[in-house]
């Protein structure tokens, strides 16, 4: 048995509900830290940023599933739906913290969405993600047909780019971290285009 097969065997024993459970915890934990003083003197921003980062991090894992399988044979495909829904959950929490705890003022929220490009882009990413979350179930795959469903879910690529660009645009000065996220996401998307060609040649 190859290493990849052994890892896959191990992974096959991990129940999906465990992934959902673990994924559900960070926002709850952050909220707990926020009300008990564990997030420093500006818990609103700390929560907002941490949740946004978490969403990007899980999204990177989601995008890595296909290249990882192509390169190493290790398959996380079983967990992809759970990871996608967890990403959406983090984005919703991130958005809620921004709306309810940060900006607070309804008219201001709408003005920000229209006037501030980085917020417009972030919102667009969220809007594009919503149908993906809604159709992340077997019934939707059956109703839409696997082809249409798959094409629809390629919107993930757009949301990932929008999410990373949103992060790059809100940085002050020249900062490395957001650019690293954008670079990794673009690389993972590029890997998707190139890998099948290389395989065909080999």
């Amino acid at each position: 048995m190859t290493i990849a097969q052994r890892i896959n065997l191990g992974l096959s024993r991990v129940p999906i509900w465990l992934v959902y459970l673990i994924g559900a915890l960070p926002p709850v934990w952050l909220f707990y830290l926020g009300i008990t003083g564990g997030l420093g003197v500006d818990p609103v921003k700390a929560m907002e940023h941490r949740l946004g980062e978490l969403a990007l991090q899980v999204l990177v894992v989601v995008l890595a599933v296909t290249p990882l399988r192509n390169w190493t044979g290790v398959s996380l495909v079983r967990f992809r739906r759970a990871l996608g829904l967890i990403t959406f959950y983090y984005v919703v929490c991130h958005l809620l913290v921004w709306l309810v705890l940060d900006v607070q003022i309804l008219s201001q929220i709408w003005a920000d969405i229209l006037k501030r490009p980085y917020i417009t882009i972030g919102m667009l990413g969220f809007v594009l993600m919503t149908p993906l979350a809604i159709t992340s179930n077997n019934l939707s795959i059956r109703k839409l047909g696997p082809k249409t469903w798959k094409r629809l879910h390629q919107l993930t690529y757009a949301t990932a780019i929008l999410g990373a660009v949103h992060f790059v645009m809100l940085a002050k000065g020249f900062q490395i971290e957001p650019l690293v996220y954008l670079g990794v996401i673009l690389a993972l998307l590029a890997a998707r285009i190139k890998i099948p060609q290389r395989r065909a040649m080999a």
Partner: protein, 309 residues
């Protein structure tokens, strides 16, 4: 110049010392002692003159003020300065005074502040990022310093520079900004009695993450104008280049007066979040000139504040 502000507020009204005294503060006190800049007991009290400007304001805790800082020389995270600033050597400290002055030269910290009257000034502090604090600074009026070195008639601006020392200021190893950090004021802004050179807060020597040993505080402007850890003061005829303006002129103007009616391109400046209010703190409206309109609006009469943001 000193002592012109009076009100009923006493220093003892602010916050019980026991309430904010903590390990970090102990370290700050010890650091000040080691630096030898201040002779005194373990908690080196500056013994600043008890003025009470800002009697209507409730200062943030020492913990708030010293754990949440924008000081990119030590990293871009708000908690980076508190973690990294301990590496900074502040003794000896020399400030070069040059340009259109009668007495240019390299002034040691002690020479620079000798003859100055230290005062307490409780000021609002409004960051361009739309958060705010209230800080009980200790310092002296910049005007007193400028008068001491003698401003020549042709001087129209004051330029400031922060130390560059990447060994100690680890954030300077990356070009987040074009170091050294630079700021500037028009001469009338610099001479305004609200403008101070701060050497401490909460009656203690300035914590390193807040800009030790000496920094500028201009309470009616966004916080980034209040340059920290100053090593150079130049009197100039022309408007000096300033760091954030160089980095992004569309977003950060030379004046950068707090103005709820002129938005930052990426966010509204109409309101602010007060640090220290916890997870559910309500936003409060931002005040024109950060609440110092009565005192400073005259400096800008006839100017279009949307053009000169």
């Amino acid at each position: 110049m000193a002592g012109r502000y009076r009100s009923d507020l006493k220093w003892s009204d602010v916050t019980p010392k026991a309430g904010w005294l903590n390990r970090r503060e102990l370290m700050a006190g010890a650091g000040a002692l080691a630096a030898g800049a201040i002779a005194g007991p373990a908690f080196a009290s500056l013994g600043a003159k008890k003025t009470s400007y800002g009697s209507d304001l409730e200062p943030n805790s020492f913990e708030d003020i010293t754990s949440y800082n924008n000081f990119y020389e030590f990293g871009t995270g708000k908690d980076d300065p508190a973690r990294n600033a301990h590496r900074l050597t502040i003794d000896p400290w020399t400030v070069k005074v040059d340009g259109l002055v009668d007495k240019p030269g390299d002034y040691s910290f002690d020479d620079l502040v000798s003859g100055m009257t230290l005062e307490e000034r409780i000021y609002r502090f409004r960051c361009v990022e739309a958060w705010s604090m209230v800080v009980p600074w200790v310092g002296f009026e910049l005007a007193d310093l400028l008068n001491k070195v003698g401003v020549q008639p042709g001087a129209k601006y004051v330029a400031f520079e922060t130390l560059v020392r990447p060994d100690e200021m680890t954030g300077q190893r990356r070009n987040v900004l074009n170091w050294p950090y630079r700021e500037g004021l028009r001469i009338d802004e610099a001479m305004h009695p609200l403008t101070i050179m701060a050497t401490g807060l909460y009656d203690e020597p300035m914590p390193k993450q807040n800009g030790a040993p000496i920094r500028l505080v201009v309470p009616w402007k966004y916080g980034f104008k209040s340059i920290k850890s100053i090593v150079r003061i130049s009197l100039t005829e022309d408007e000096p280049p300033t760091s954030w303006n160089l980095a992004n002129p569309r977003e950060y103007g030379f004046y950068s007066n707090v103005n709820p009616n002129v938005d930052h391109p990426r966010w509204s400046q109409a309101s602010e979040r007060q640090i220290g209010g916890g997870l559910f703190a309500k936003r409060i409206p931002t005040l024109m000139f950060n609440g110092y309109e009565k005192e400073v609006a005259g400096l800008y009469s006839g100017m279009d504040l949307e053009e000169f943001y």
